[in-house]
Structures are given as structure tokens and as C-alpha cells.
């Protein structure tokens, strides 16, 4: 019964997507005027805004690190972002996601270029769908690039998961709740490194590898969208000129 709801006889998922299809993704760069860098992402029904401040001075000063920059990250959901109103105080889930998000971004940044400074990444979920942490990482990485932070690579994130016998790309809210496994992954596409990996659900070892590969293929698709969004901001006019030419 459950499988019928999540995948029909033609291999279409509950929202009409195929097995390897991403939800619609839209990234806009430079949306928060006061921030040093920012991005807004719509990823399925996720609507997330990210602002980056820094590199800047650390307060209190004893938090500073002599040889590199401190990275701070807050993942936060607006009270109206969820089906039932969310209490604005940070939940244990938000604390964990803030942590894995920071850890997934850190390998992409050349933090030794900014000793004794701090970079703050504020991720605000205005509307939450399945995969908000991946969507948040994607926007955060673009916002860090927008802030001009020295980077090795963009971080691209996407989940894959299991719906009964199928390993599918980019789990949505319903699939997260009713499906069998959800595996969010963040990836440095050029460096070929995994910086976020979580799983909950049940999966065989074989399915695990398949799922990981599928998530990474999703990350690579996202990567193109991230680059395009940055190009549009920084070379928007040139691109239009070319199109005209």
C-alpha cells in the first residue's frame, strides 16, 4: 500500500518526478542588502535565505584562532516554516543540523587565509520541505562565494533515498516521512570529496553504495545550477550580450 502512494506503476513518484529527477531548483545571489554575501534558494517547496557576514573580528576575542578563521553556522527555522507552528527557540534538531552544515562547508574554505577572524553563516528556513539541510548547504556555499571568501570548490548537496526497491534521487517531504531511507550528501565536485553524509532508514550495503552514487550525481546537477546563479549575478550583462550576439 505504502509503495503505491510513493511510486506509481510507471515509475512516477508522488510529485510526478522520475527516479533520477531533481525537484525544481532556483537560486538567486545577493538578496540580503546588508550582508557580505547572500543567496536565496527554492528547492522544491524549501524556501531558504542565507546571509554571510565576514571575515570580520571575533567577539569575544578569546574565541579567535591564531592560525585560521573561525567558521560559525546557524540553521534556523522560522515559526511559520512548518506545517505546525515551530517554537522559535532552537531545537536539538536545529543544533545538530547547524553542526553538520558547518562541517560540510568548512573543507571548501581556505580558512588559513583569515587568521583571527570569523565568518558567520546564517541559514534561515522560511519554508521547510524534505531536504532543507541540503538546500541550505547549497545556498550557503553560493553565499560564501558571493562574499568573496577564498574557496577550493563549491559545496553541492543533494539527498538520495530508498522507496521500497528503488533508489531515488532527491527525497521530498512525503518520501522522507513515508519512505524507507534518506541519505543527505554534500560533495566537492572538483575535489571529489564527501563533506556531509548522514543516513536514516534501512538499506543493504549494496543499496548504500548505489544510494551514495546517486546522491553524488544529484550534487553534480546542483553544482551546475549554483555556478549559473553566480554567473548570472557577476556576469549577467555579459551573458545577455552573448545571447543577443
Amino acid at each position: 500500500m505504502k509503495e503505491l502512494a510513493l511510486m506509481d506503476e510507471n515509475g512516477k513518484r508522488s510529485d510526478g518526478r522520475g527516479i533520477d529527477e531533481l525537484r525544481s531548483i532556483k537560486i538567486t545571489v545577493g538578496v540580503v542588502k546588508n550582508a557580505d554575501g547572500s543567496a536565496y534558494i527554492e528547492f522544491g517547496k524549501n524556501k531558504i535565505i542565507v546571509a554571510v557576514y565576514g571575515p570580520r573580528e571575533v567577539h569575544p576575542k578569546h574565541m579567535a584562532l591564531p592560525d585560521r578563521c573561525v567558521l560559525r553556522c546557524r540553521y534556523h527555522m522560522s515559526p511559520f516554516s512548518t506545517d505546525t507552528r515551530k517554537n522559535p527557540a532552537p531545537s536539538r534538531r536545529e543544533v545538530e543540523i547547524s553542526k553538520v552544515m558547518r562541517e560540510s562547508l568548512e573543507p571548501s574554505l581556505i580558512l588559513s587565509d583569515y587568521p583571527r577572524a570569523v565568518i558567520d553563516v546564517f541559514v534561515e528556513v522560511l519554508q521547510a520541505d524534505g531536504g532543507s539541510r541540503c538546500a541550505g548547504i547549497n545556498a550557503a556555499s553560493v553565499a560564501l562565494a558571493d562574499a568573496g571568501i577564498n574557496m577550493r570548490d563549491l559545496v553541492s548537496a543533494c539527498a538520495a533515498g530508498r522507496l521500497s526497491e528503488n533508489i531515488v534521487l532527491d527525497i521530498n517531504d512525503l518520501e522522507d516521512k513515508e519512505g524507507d531511507a534518506d541519505m543527505p550528501v554534500a560533495y566537492l565536485p572538483n575535489l571529489e570529496q564527501v563533506t556531509l553524509l548522514q543516513l536514516d532508514g534501512k538499506i543493504t550495503t549494496a543499496q548504500f553504495s548505489e544510494c551514495l552514487e546517486k546522491a553524488i550525481s544529484g550534487c553534480k546537477l546542483v553544482y551546475e545550477i549554483q555556478k549559473e546563479a553566480l554567473m548570472k549575478k557577476y556576469f549577467g550583462n555579459e551573458m545577455e550580450l552573448k545571447e543577443e550576439a
Partner: protein, 271 residues
């Protein structure tokens, strides 16, 4: 405990002098005249998961308000009225000077003044939001997230709240066997009027509407007045550490009524 603050933006003496000089010539640094609001955009229905929502841009100030409707117990002393609960958070995205954490006194004042406008005007007819008198009522949460600050948070937040409420669709709940049932249907909220706040700051002898962050950094005092659709005043709040003369206040009350009417039409149009 409330404490004197350092200016949130350090105003260089030069810049302040420049401002006073411009004001003495009747002009603001961004070219507006004293009674003009900045550009103003409203987008509604942006959060599908909310019963109502609106994003307001007032110059570079940007605020999102979301309405969530649930059921719960009424407040003590207000047993036969729906419950209305407002909050505002200035997100750490909003400027380099915001620390994440529970709302500080400025955010608390902000949400309480916006709340006062809605509550005192009886914009929402809470008498119509009761399911079992004294026991179960509609609980209406209006939460505001301030995304970017460039002055006059109070009006921007107030307009976002009004627009979000106006365009809300409330779920219709019913009582069956003493249990709340969500019928899956929706209704427009019981709206009676449209409270609109107008905010001014005094810098020296000049009184300016819709201040920017830069103007707030130079302000001596602030005043906000909320009028409802019939022009009656429903809420006033003087803010900051400088005084006003009686004359300034009375003159401002007239401006707030007229300007409020103007903004009210604009918001109606935008919806």
C-alpha cells in the same frame, strides 16, 4: 534590565553634520522630502504552509510575516475570545550588528507595538474565533522574521502583519464529540478594519517620516502612531531617549492620520 546603548551604527561626526545641514535645507540624504516614504513592495502568499503570509520591502528593510492558525485554550480573563499571539525576530541575517538569540528589548517593543495596533483596532474579530466558550478557541500566531534592516522596522513589520492577515485563509475547525476536527475547508478571517502605523523621528528640529538606519543613528526621538480605517488612533509609542514638544506630537498626529490613509490605500491595492 534596560540599558543605554552605544549607537548601533557609529555615526561619523562628519556624516551627522552633513545630515543636519541637508535637513536644514529641507532635504534628506537620500533626496526624499520629510514626509515621503521610501519605495514600498508587498508580496503575499509566499509561504504555502502558512495560513497567510506577506513579504514587505520598505527601501532596503525587508520583513516576512506568517500566520499560523491552530486551536487551544483561551487566555485567562479572555475566555470567550480567540487567542492572538505575535512575535518578531530580527534575524542575524539582517545586519552585521544582530546577535542570534532570544529577542532583546528592541524586538520585544517592536512586536508589542505592532500587536497593540492589531489588538486595539480589533482588526481581527476575536469573538468570532471561539469553538467551545471558555475551553477551546482558535489560536492565531503571527510571527515576523526581519531579514534585512534599513530603518523603520516598526512600519515594515506592521504592514507585513496587516497584509498577511488580510490575505489569510483560516482553516475551519468544528467540534465533534468534544474533539476538534479540521474540516479541511477554509474561510476568510473575520476582519473589521485595517490598522496602519506611521513612524517619524526627530533629528534636531526636523521631523522625518520613515527613517533609514542612517537617520535612526542620528535621531533624538522616535514616535509611532497607528490609525484604523476610520482615522481613529488606536496605538501610540514614543521611543528613544529624547523628548518631543506637545506641538510636535499634535502636528504628527495629523500627519499620521493622513499618511496612514495613503498607505492603507496602497496596501489595499497591492493585495
Amino acid at each position: 534590565m534596560s540599558s543605554s546603548k552605544r549607537s548601533t551604527v557609529i555615526v561619523e561626526q562628519l556624516r551627522k553634520q552633513q545630515m543636519l545641514e541637508a535637513l536644514s535645507r529641507g532635504k534628506r540624504l537620500d533626496g526624499r522630502d520629510f514626509e515621503s516614504y521610501r519605495n514600498f513592495e508587498i508580496e503575499v502568499g509566499i509561504i504555502d504552509k502558512a495560513s497567510g503570509s506577506a513579504k514587505v520591502k520598505l527601501g532596503n528593510t525587508e520583513v516576512i510575516a506568517g500566520v499560523k492558525v491552530e486551536t487551544g485554550e483561551p487566555f485567562e480573563g479572555l475566555e470567550n475570545k480567540g487567542a492572538l499571539i505575535m512575535s518578531a525576530e530580527v534575524l542575524p541575517t539582517a545586519s552585521a550588528h544582530v546577535e542570534p538569540g532570544p529577542p532583546d528589548e528592541d524586538a520585544i517593543e517592536l512586536s508589542r507595538v505592532v500587536d497593540r495596533g492589531v489588538r486595539e483596532s480589533e482588526m481581527l474579530d476575536l469573538d468570532k474565533l471561539v469553538l467551545i466558550p471558555g475551553k477551546i478557541v482558535y489560536t492565531v500566531f503571527v510571527d515576523c522574521s526581519i531579514i534585512n534592516t534599513d530603518g523603520n522596522l516598526l512600519d515594515a513589520t506592521s504592514y507585513a502583519v496587516v497584509a498577511a492577515l488580510l490575505t489569510s485563509k483560516f482553516p475551519i475547525y468544528e467540534i465533534k464529540d468534544e474533539q476538534v476536527v479540521d474540516t479541511g475547508k477554509t474561510m476568510p478571517p473575520p476582519i473589521t478594519t485595517m490598522p496602519i502605523s506611521i513612524t517619524a523621528v526627530r533629528i534636531g528640529e526636523s521631523v522625518l517620516l520613515d527613517p533609514t538606519t542612517e537617520e535612526e543613528a542620528c535621531m533624538d526621538a522616535r514616535i509611532t502612531m497607528t490609525t484604523q480605517s476610520d482615522g481613529n488612533i488606536v496605538a501610540v509609542q514614543k521611543g528613544f531617549t529624547g523628548p518631543f514638544s506637545v506641538n510636535q506630537i499634535v502636528q504628527f498626529s495629523e500627519i499620521a492620520r493622513i499618511k496612514g490613509e495613503e498607505m492603507r490605500s496602497k496596501i489595499k491595492e497591492l493585495n
